[in-house]
Point group: C2
Chain length 768, copies 2
């Protein structure tokens, strides 16, 4: 024990953001195999762990790792964030000014998800990992990042839905695959660029609802929906993208805290998904090991909590519960030394994979510096990402704005988002070189005069009174009124779910009243979704744009869309629910399917049919027609589909190709615009109830000019047309299916699967 305490004491003296590399040339480890770049990763990690005594091992299990001074192993902070750019976090230190005082700040994932553009996500993630490496080289960051948050966003109240790309699992899987490859680099490379961490595994999904908090929530999820929905993004992370790290979550799942659950951490994650590559490790969410003991009361002692978590396969503890309590748990015989060795081998294998024990010359990543941070190209990409995501929800023809050149157009701008700063970024943000609010960007237009007053009420003194004054004053002089409002991280954030998804009654009243004075009104709605019914139904409201949390260039993006410099083509990545939805289903109810007895009307577009605006909705400055190019085949034999799959190429049956469908997309208007081709499957096959439809493919087409056409290719896999049964098994069912194109559906291609059902994926059951 005494050694352990001294070790922890040493930790306090270590630099807060140490990312110094061990000296493999002349340091104490120089002759240890960990420094032998010709040895296997496994042998290198094993050699390092073999050099440690048991107290040193305990010390290395916490997120603030003291290292081992006698071995020249520096302290290491495992906690870095980079949700939409390198972000302020315990392991990331921005300089107060000058170099490394900022990084590119992209939109929140919820807006980038609306772009339905996997290549964009890959490009964004590549910038993030480049900037992360630059920060690391300046000793301002570690090499692992606790991003992405990839829990499917199934309830509009969730305060962290903004951190995700949306509600659809296929969409999340495509998104996260692109993201991980951008963050970690090629899976075939000897060196990972950085280590990504898919969180929060699994069924996390709420911050606080009444007295239920993320810390004490026991998510009750049936096996079918666990397999088909909650687990799907993590399957991509682990099985298909070989992500470096997974974070277990605060909540319990069907009675077992996830960080102590061998069913999900071992049976599913490591065995079923074969997530056993070099250095793949599980970290706990912060203090989640403590939460096994309290408030989950899952173990009788603190020592059992740490032993259970370690044995279940949680390799790293965000917090100090491992460091503090593993020693006594070990003395109590609650686990063998081989278990902690296994955890440390995983952790240090991961650092070996990012070149931590290799010379700087081994990888070009070590040469990146601040000249690679927030470059003009990266900042342009932040603007492009915001533009691609924004969704046009209503337009009576006023947009794009006609701003005559010969005179100034008077625009009255109001609302809580008009002149925001860091609200543009949402949560888990870094420092941006600039933050362009709508006000700033409007003021850059040469032929516009913006009327704005900053005294429009505040968080401390919420009154919308001065809005009216502004409008009344401008009544005779303004040409156009723009209301930039919505919600922000005061309304929704970590630890803070919403109880209400409607606009506040005061704002509804005020905006509708403003709309009576006879001037066009455009609403820019930022933050997450609000029930826009009162404004969609009001003919005096000319247009609505949803702008999410658009990042550093958010004002520029929305102004480019207003003026038509950019045509909007984003689609809602979530359902826009009516305000009363929050009264119909409990936040803690994890069921997706409607349930008459509980009153649950269903969750997501797959199961809920009364949206204000549906998932996938989005208007353009032009119109598009779509049609599916006729295929030679309309009937497929199931056994033939399976047997014709090249298993040397496709390890998992759900990834085997089914068929590719060409969709002709024609811009029937005159304004050039992107178009997102969305393909859904519908059918009444397999276990009841049947989903309304399910997204199986999407492709964003770029800059289709007026009267021109482009062709989208929708590549469907066997997984696209399979469903999960009550045991979570993924099965191809014979029957009639439709491929539905666009939202609302503009074209349908019908086909039939014949033969007997075939199981693609046998889901492991929890042993009872």
């Amino acid at each position: 024990m005494a050694t352990t305490l001294l070790g922890l004491f040493a930790l306090l003296a270590a630099p807060a953001t140490a990312a110094l590399f061990p000296d493999c040339a002349n340091g104490p480890l120089a002759n240890n195999t960990v420094c032998d770049t010709t040895a296997s990763v496994a042998a290198r990690a094993r050699a390092l762990v073999d050099a440690l005594n048991i107290d040193e091992k305990f010390n290395l299990t916490g997120s603030t790792s003291p290292g081992v001074p006698r071995l020249g192993l520096y302290s290491y902070q495992w906690w870095q964030e980079a949700l939409h750019g390198v972000a302020s976090s315990p392991g990331v230190t921005f300089a107060p000014n000058g170099d490394y005082s900022y990084a590119t700040s992209f939109p929140q994932p919820i807006l980038m998800g609306a772009a339905f553009d996997d290549a964009l996500i890959h490009a964004v993630a590549t910038v993030v990992s480049t900037e992360a490496r630059a920060f690391n080289n300046a000793n301002r960051s570690g090499l692992d990042f606790w991003t992405p948050n990839i829990n499917p966003y199934k309830d509009p109240r969730w305060g962290r839905g903004q951190e995700t790309p949306g509600e659809d699992p296929f969409h999340l899987k495509s998104y996260v695959a692109s993201l991980i490859s951008g963050l970690e680099g090629s899976p075939d490379s000897k060196f990972k660029k950085v280590i990504a961490t898919c969180k929060h595994f699994a069924a996390y999904d709420l911050e606080g609802w009444g007295t239920t908090t993320r810390y004490n929530f026991d998510a009750q999820v049936n096996t079918q929906e666990l397999a088909e929905y909650y687990m799907q993004p993590f399957q991509t992370c682990a099985r298909d993208s070989n992500v470096g790290s997974i974070m277990c979550s605060y909540n319990a799942l069907n009675g077992v805290p996830t960080c102590a659950d061998p069913y999900i951490l071992q049976t599913i994650l490591r065995e079923h998904w074969n997530w056993t590559g070099e250095g793949q490790y599980v970290t706990s969410d912060c203090d989640a090991i403590q939460n096994i003991y309290m408030p989950h009361d899952y173990t009788a002692t603190r020592e059992e909590a740490v032993a259970d978590a370690l044995k279940a396969g949680t390799d790293l503890n965000c917090g100090t519960y491992y460091q503090t309590h593993l020693p006594v748990a070990y003395d109590q015989g609650l686990f063998d030394e081989s278990v902690i060795d296994q955890a440390l081998i995983r952790l240090y294998s991961s650092l070996i994979r990012v070149g931590y024990f290799d010379p700087a010359s081994a990888t070009p990543y070590r040469s990146l510096n601040f000249r690679n941070v927030s470059t003009p190209a990266s900042e342009a990409l932040a603007l492009k990402a915001a533009e691609e995501g924004m969704v046009l929800l209503k337009n009576d023809g006023i947009l794009p704005l006609s701003l005559p050149a010969g005179r100034k157009t008077n625009i009255t701008l109001m609302g809580g988002w008009a002149n925001v700063t860091t609200q543009l970024q949402g949560n888990y943000a870094g420092v941006a070189r600039f933050l362009h609010a709508p006000l700033y960007s409007l003021q850059q237009l040469p032929n516009v005069n913006v009327q704005y007053t900053s005294s429009q009420g505040s968080i401390q003194f919420p009154t919308t009174g001065n809005w009216e004054q502004l409008v009344t004053a401008a009544e005779n002089t303004t040409d156009l009124i723009i209301v930039a409002d919505g919600i922000n991280n005061n309304d929704e954030s970590e630890d803070n779910d919403r109880y209400d998804i409607s606009w506040s009654p005061g704002k509804i009243d005020l905006i509708n009243q403003i709309a009576t004075i006879g001037k066009p009104v455009i609403i820019l709605q930022f933050g997450d979704q609000l029930d826009n019914t009162p404004f969609l139904n009001n003919p005096n409201i000319s247009a609505i744009i949803w702008g999410g949390y658009p990042g550093m260039a958010g004002g520029d993006a929305v102004v480019n869309i207003l003026t038509g410099k950019t045509s909007p083509a984003g689609r809602l990545p979530v359902t826009q629910y009516p305000g009363d939805y929050v009264n119909q289903v409990e936040m803690t109810d994890m069921n997706l399917r409607p349930n008459a007895s509980s009153g649950n009307p269903g969750r997501t577009y797959k199961w809920y049919d009364s949206a204000v605006l549906p998932f996938g909705y989005g208007l353009h400055y032009t119109n598009f027609s779509v049609d599916v190019v006729e295929s030679s085949q309309t009937t497929y034999n199931i056994s033939q589909l399976v047997s014709s799959c090249d298993r040397s190429q496709y390890k998992y049956l759900d990834l085997c190709p089914f068929d590719s469908f060409q969709v002709n997309v024609t811009n029937t208007g005159s304004v050039a615009s992107d178009f997102i081709t969305l393909g859904f499957i519908s059918g009444q096959n397999g276990p009841k109830p049947y989903p309304i439809k399910e997204l199986v493919a999407y492709q964003r087409l770029f800059n289709i000019t007026g009267r021109a056409s482009q062709t989208a290719t929708l590549n469907l896999t066997l997984g696209s047309i399979a469903r999960r049964d009550v045991n979570g098994n993924q099965i191809l069912y014979p029957g009639d299916y439709g491929l539905l194109i666009d939202v609302p559906t503009q074209a349908t291609w019908n086909f039939t699967l014949s033969g007997s059902p075939v199981t693609l994926d046998q889901w492991p059951q929890r042993s009872t």
Copy 2:
């Protein structure tokens, strides 16, 4: 209409914090009777209003009043705050530095309430009004202040309970009477010092609970509890203290939005309580007039909402709904001009009463300046107020601390409140000259070495991990561990009720774990009450002090108590409920009495008997014995009590004296200490159910030295021994009563009321 709009436009050009006085010597009003200081207030106000045209009148009904330029009537901002010191608000402007860049910042009322010292409150309010006048003279504030918040704090979840003195109506009435006289000055004076505003009238009581918000809440309150509890502080404000202003609230009361309710604004407030003095006016809460229309849906149109509010007696609108919609409502014939005249006469009478139209020489208040702000005496009073309020909840004898002179005592300090800044102040705060956190104040002790690390987790990254590191590191060297924690305005504030009143499980675990290392642990619990059961029950936790929101000198106060420089004597002004209480009664349930069918276990100490620590609880550094000096009389005839009251002195029967009781208080220990003598009445008379007991008197005795005695005098009135029936009538009932002294009860004096019941107050019923 056009004139009105121009008027509103003029408003925009006015200074934001204008408090310029009209030029009654040479200005346009010089010959108007409003400037005739020999005329009656009524005549002066009437003359001003007679000089206005109807559009000017409309303009003057909003909180941001444009004035009337043609009459030399400057714009006036009615919205000032001063809850516990002159506070940042639309009408108050602190200078960026130098003079007027700060003001004295007293503790939040919840802590000042715990002092049970009416003279202290009067002194504090006198400082606040002096500083307010100084700010006004520098054109940095108006002359009316929207304070106090005097809704009884009946549910521990309420986010604004901190703004009140506590849960007991007698206590609140005594407190608010002292406060108002300190703010407004003597009621007999020609000039009021400032105008106070009792808010929120009535039954406001929640910020948000699920989808119920303060804006849409319809409080269902029965007549009995309305009269005996929710209305009582306002009765004191209006009937007994003649407060200048009352604010109607956001909520509806039994179906009627309070700002549109003639039953409470006219029948009760103005008729039953005779609140018809010079310049007494009702202001709405901010946008509360709008809320009549939406979300209350109480009227079909906006015009009906403003007309209903004006006719009900709401004279001023915080917001612009009156200014915007009264003109059309007037055109629609929804009210007569005499109604708006009445409102304006009240408003301008109130300004006449503060000398707004009198020469500067008329009142010494006009000579106050920054030399009168944050004086050494005022800052010493802020310290005294904090010291008097703090409550010792547990002490195994470790306190007061023994700090040997010859060596340094090593103190490990941790927790989220250790090094706070503005959190010391709570909400509705101003800028303080300094903010002394516990860390700062501990560091000032000459013989103490404080071990502290700032990296103890944060709001953005909540992890308590580093606490452990600090303790583990200090394990061998520290003499004492102090945990300064609790909750703050991130957990509870305006618009933000709590759902949980327990310590977080993580903190419970961590603090109890810290307590196992064998060093004494003292908890300083700040913010509002938390269920302290886990620490009260842990014998390794040596002491707990509750420190509320202690203001600018909060750290000094708690350190003075720790060291014994000051002896603690505060008493809990609220019940400390068990954590599970929040599951037993809905936040929206306004019933105070227990109800078996709803599960409501009762509210406040009067009706709830399972407190963790009861209302009135508080330990000392010594022990006290109390006994009631025997009275000659133990039986009182009710009719004789009533008939012997001098009605020329006591206009209301409940204020008539009943009897005075002397209580001998003896310090049986050796440490000098204040002692708060609390007197409760109990009995089983009048309508069932019977309250457990009810506070009827208190007196704080000062500095009772060891073995010495002092005598408290508890003056009971007829109101003290009366109860309210189901119709709200206040009645003296014959029967046996007990006067219980102290918490827990240390002495009881029994007496009997004989004869027939007599009604002291006939409560007006809502006409149906």
